[in-house]
């Protein structure tokens, strides 16, 4: 999909940021909490964000995992 010339922050424009965050989340060592969301909605919110990021199937065509890791500054 061609990137719009003037987009100013919609999902397409921030694709690289999302991909980098995904790599950083992968390497940050977050763990899914054992306590129920009812007991800690805040933590659950955070982990929802983490899970959503891990699940996101963003358009990676043309960008390898290794390249993203380098750019994100994370190790395998």
């Amino acid at each position: 999909m061609k990137k719009p010339l003037f987009d100013t922050g919609d999902a397409e424009s921030n694709e690289l940021s999302r991909l980098l965050t995904q790599e950083r989340v992968d390497s940050a060592g977050f763990k899914v909490p054992k306590i129920s969301p009812k007991n800690d909605p805040d933590l659950a919110t955070f982990h929802d964000l983490i899970r959503a990021t891990k699940r996101a199937k963003t358009r990676k065509k043309g960008i390898s995992k290794g390249q993203l890791r380098k750019l994100a500054g994370v190790k395998r």
Binding site: L20, G29, D40, T53, K70
Partner: protein, 595 residues
Amino acid sequence: MTKRGVIHSPQALDDPPGGSLGEWLRFLGAMPQESDWIPVWPPDAFAIAAAILRRTGAYVNLVNGTSKTSPKTRSRPSRASHEPDASAVGREWRKTLASVLEQGETKRLRDACPEAIRGWWAEMLRCRTSPLAECAKDPHLLAAAVNLCVAGDAACDDIGVDVRDPFLVMAELVLDHNERRSLCLRVPVEKLAVLPKRHTPQRGCTIRSLSHNLALFTPTEIRAMWESPYKAASGDLDLFNLLLLPWPVAVEPGDFCVSGHRAEHDVNIGLSGDQRYFDYRPRQSESPAKLAARVAHAIDVATREVDRIHGVALPELSLTFEQFLAVEKVVVKRHAILISGVRGEGSRETNGLPYNACVIQPLGLTDLAKAPGRIRDVARRIQLKHHRWCLDRDQILQYELGGRLPAAPDCWERIYIGPRAIRFVTFTTWLTTCVLICEDLARQDPVTEVIRSVGPHLVFALLMDGPQLRNRWPSRYASVLAEDPGCSVLSMTSLGMAQRSRPRQQSGDTSDKRSTIALWRDAIYGEREIALEPGHNACVLSLVKKTATEFTIGAGTGSHVAAFPVYAGARSISCARQPRKRTRQWPRYNARRKR
């Protein structure tokens, strides 16, 4: 965002009355009607507390020495003796949060919230039914707000520029969730925005004087976005060499023309029929490949003068988008960032109007300088000019354009004004930058509030202007940003426009300054005019990091070592010679090619 956060309601309090602090807190995304709700995410605590201080104006008491609102010297005797230091509480909060996020399963996030934060929040809730106007008179409430503000800020050290611990990674995640526009988890980005901050103003007394790491502002029509930090291949830089290419080196009167579209058509596309409009359309435009070769040659020549070129900058309207793409390829391959003004023809996307934009390509400093084009596409950032340039009579005479443009009525730049945005891009820990295009530097609204809040290290002002002399307008506006919040400002124009200009010389000053293509201004050493030597057409500007301690207003709210990019020399160079084409000398190879 998940709705799980709002179902946690063990004990509901009465709804706060209209106009009360409680109602206002609820508007901001807090839940004052629930007794055990606390701000568990430091940027939220900062946003809510700083917003109250800004709304009531009570933070000014910090400079008055009114002890009742000073964070460490509250007057309530029962608590004052063991009142914790808000900065220390913030740092402890950060440590615990990082630990909880890493281990996840053993501790509730709210358990990571220090007791002092709960106490200060409870103090604010105590006044939830008070009218907002009365809150400024309650010293305990205001002390609690200052403490929350300071603690939230202290917890966010290095936010937005580093990702070394889970807290900072989580901050990136939240930024992504908010389309890079705010760090807040609970406070909606449409109501208040919090972004990372690089400078604290050392003059004046505003809400910006109260924090080092977090910037609060009310979102307006301008979308302010903080880019994800990129990992530089060579680690943190000590020196930043910027190659300034003030091209085109010649601008002809024929490059300007009165717009052919007038009257009825103008009304249809939003242009007034009473005004005149002009287009800037250079008659001679180099092919993208040739221009890219010239830029590559310029980098090679510059590299003989300095160790390495880290960035290349070109002024407003210097390239077409096609030329930019070709130049970008060679610049990124040579491990440098690229910032350039770009012009383009009208399209359906721009309602038929030409556009004037700046494009930032940050990829060159990273490990991915030799990556394929796809990654360059997603890393490229485009920002449209916010305001049209109005050429008045004086300017038309100054640039000797009277034969092309009518000098009687004002003549406006015919460009598309699209959605307004500003992007803060971090190249290294001491170089967070943003770009303004010409008129956007002079027009304070709507961008200046955001720039002053965030305080980027360096503001690039890409201009199409006369020589960059100390007594001209860019210097005045740069000095405003250098003083508050402390930004360094580089304004640069093309040699062609500088040469066209006939500025009014100061009396007694007969020197020709029309080769002054840039002006550097920083908060520590002041101004520097950057001029080219005769026959030269490029310049290498060297920047180094200087650190200085910045303070917030009021005692006990902490100091912080801030970085300032400062001038470290400029060298004019000539790179006019075209690189010689290489031909292979092997006879068999050449013979095969001929066949």
